[in-house]
């Protein structure tokens, strides 16, 4: 058979082939490097938080940070650092938010999954999810310029900045999250279970409460826990609308500062690098990080551990 390819062409082919093989081997390495950026981010977050927190605890004792009640980081003569006022504000605002988000989110989920017609669901669901797309800064503006003044008409003793109004608005922000995760859980309950309940004569409501919700409970509870995590980490709404009062109190009509709002205040304020106030930032941030991490892991655990498989 006659040789149809010249030698130079063969060399070219060979070279192409080896280049292709190099590419074939090199690409996964490059992709791995790209993938490790996300791991490095986690490492970076942990390292910065831990290293600077250690610096903080060389100046301030654990006892003062976790057990005393005074938070006056910028007091020149006698600064004091206690996380309790920030923690109480965070827990209060989260609690208020969940009081709003859980009932509205869950009933919305039940309505969309059990009662609404296909047509109604197709219209309502994206509209509810628009609430999740609104930037938090816009919610902050809304809480500060609209919700607080309206609430002050009803509750005259409410301060101009308070924890109640941002708590409520945060709850509204979290509704779509609770609603859409709970709805996913409810819709994954097989129809045969609803039909079984109804064949026994249950009304839709009875079937939902006695059969569908218990079957979807793990997903529903997980959605609440994720909502809590979201509320703990929420920053702009509380920064704008709840002020910067660092007193330890449980009076929701007063100004309070959450952990997140404290971080914003200190970073945008004039605590210079190397001061104790600056390091306190990282101790607070690490506490915040651990709280949200614990909530996220708890949510994952609940939805895995208690999921009913059909």
């Amino acid at each position: 058979m006659a040789q149809t390819t010249s030698v130079s062409e063969l060399i070219k082919q060979k070279r192409n082939k080896s280049r292709r093989m190099k590419l074939e081997k090199g690409v996964p390495v490059l992709l791995f490097l790209a993938a490790s950026v996300s791991v490095l981010t986690t490492v970076g977050i942990l390292l910065t938080l831990i290293v600077e927190t250690v610096m903080f605890f060389t100046d301030v004792s654990f006892r003062e940070f976790f057990l005393s009640t005074a938070m006056q980081p910028l007091n020149r003569s006698d600064p004091s650092f206690s996380i309790l006022p920030l923690l109480s504000a965070t827990l209060l605002s989260t609690g208020i938010a969940m009081l709003v988000a859980v009932p509205i989110g869950l009933t919305t989920a039940v309505y969309l999954s059990e009662y609404a017609t296909d047509k109604a669901r197709r219209v309502l669901k994206p509209m509810v999810e628009v609430l999740a797309g609104i930037p938090t800064i816009v919610y902050g503006f809304f809480a500060f310029t609209f919700v607080t003044p309206v609430l002050r008409e009803i509750i005259p003793i409410l301060d101009r900045t308070n924890i109640l109004s941002p708590g409520i608005v945060m709850g509204i922000m979290i509704i779509p999250m609770v609603a859409s995760l709970s709805e996913d859980a409810l819709s994954s309950v097989p129809n045969s279970m609803r039909e079984g309940a109804m064949a026994f004569g249950a009304t839709k409501l009875e079937a939902t409460i006695r059969v569908v919700i218990p079957a979807a409970l793990s997903g529903i509870v997980a959605s609440f826990v994720l909502g809590i995590s979201r509320a703990i980490g929420e920053t702009m709404i509380v920064t704008i609308a709840s002020g910067s009062n660092k007193n330890l109190t449980f009076d929701v009509t007063q100004s309070m500062q959450t952990m997140t709002a404290y971080i914003v205040e200190v970073t945008s304020g004039d605590a210079g690098a190397g001061t104790t106030a600056y390091y306190s930032l990282y101790a607070v941030a690490l506490t915040l990080f651990l709280f949200t991490l614990a909530m996220n892991m708890l949510a994952k655990y609940i939805s895995k551990r208690y999921r009913e498989v059909y």
Binding site: A34, T48, T107, T203, T267, M297
Partner: protein, 295 residues
């Protein structure tokens, strides 16, 4: 035969049970609508406050202490600069990570490790990313609060979203397409580059745009890296100071206690921000409907 069901009792209770079902149905619908009503009130409030402030002069002027002269061109250009970093960077890193996990690693501990890490990262509050940016980019690498530092911080924040969206897009590409290209003699990378990625592109782009719209609205991390409250010159390079729309809204909102007009300017800026986000989302939906292939 023994009577197992007391029919009389059942019939006596039936009307009440049915009525309760109907009432609750109405209540649940009202609850669903209540969220939407708040949304409507929010939009109405913002638009009413911005009325009369949102004009050409406002869109094209630099910021100023005097409300009549102030504008948001600086914040708009800062937002665009930020997107020029976040867009390409997260696209490259996000898609590369997704390809690695979906096409190369596939299963096992390595993948579980990466995916656990990514899902945990997605749950970290944005303000913590701001502290990371402040510590590493602004202070350690000595960049200062410049466009590049903000862009890198924001890229790390939205990267998990892009990765997850890209993974889903790749997973939606049926394996027979890959197998067909292997059958034609393609190597793995050739199959990915010429067959899998093009097929996944519309869904990847949709996820990208949604991530961008998240990045545009994000405020806290940028405040943490120290963006100044009042900034006159427009950014001209990656190493210039900058501000963005949400940060401008923040400073005007908290200063509204001093000068009432600032609240209206904040509202006008919110309208601009929401319009930009609406356009981005509309584009994402358009791309999805127009180019999405069903396999």
């Amino acid at each position: 035969m023994a009577e197992y069901i007391d029919h009389e009792l059942v019939h006596k209770r039936l009307p009440r049970r049915i009525a309760l079902n109907k009432t609750v149905r109405g209540l649940f619908l009202a609850s669903t609508l209540s969220g939407l009503i708040v949304l409507a009130v929010l939009l109405f409030d913002v638009i009413r406050d911005s009325w009369g402030w949102l004009d050409w002069q406002f869109l094209t002027s630099v910021t100023s202490f005097s409300p009549e002269q102030a504008g948001i061109i600086g914040a708009i250009s800062g937002t665009l600069w930020l997107m020029m970093i976040v867009g390409p960077l997260t696209m490259i890193l996000g898609v590369a990570t997704a390809v690695y996990l979906e096409e190369y690693v596939k299963e096992g501990r390595v993948r579980t490790f990466f995916e656990t890490n990514i899902s945990n990262l997605a749950g970290v509050p944005s303000i913590v990313f701001g502290l990371l940016g402040l510590t590493v980019f602004v202070r350690m690498l000595g960049m200062g609060s410049v466009v590049l530092a903000g862009g890198l911080t924001m890229s790390l924040l939205v990267l998990p979203i892009v990765i997850v969206a890209s993974q889903e897009a790749l997973r939606a590409v049926p394996s027979y397409l890959r197998e067909a290209s292997f059958g034609m003699g393609a190597t793995r990378w050739q199959a990915i580059r010429t067959v899998v990625l093009p097929a996944a592109l519309p869904n990847i782009l949709t996820g990208m745009i949604l991530a961008m719209s998240r990045a545009i609205g994000e405020t806290a991390p940028l405040i943490a890296i120290g963006i100044p409250a009042l900034l006159i010159p427009l950014p001209g390079s990656l190493f210039d100071s900058f501000t963005v729309l949400p940060v401008q809204i923040y400073y005007w909102t908290i200063d509204a206690a001093l000068t009432a007009e600032y609240a209206y300017m904040a509202a006008a800026t919110i309208v601009v921000l929401l319009v930009i986000m609406f356009l981005l989302n509309a584009t994402a939906i358009f791309i999805r409907n127009k180019f999405q292939q069903r396999f």
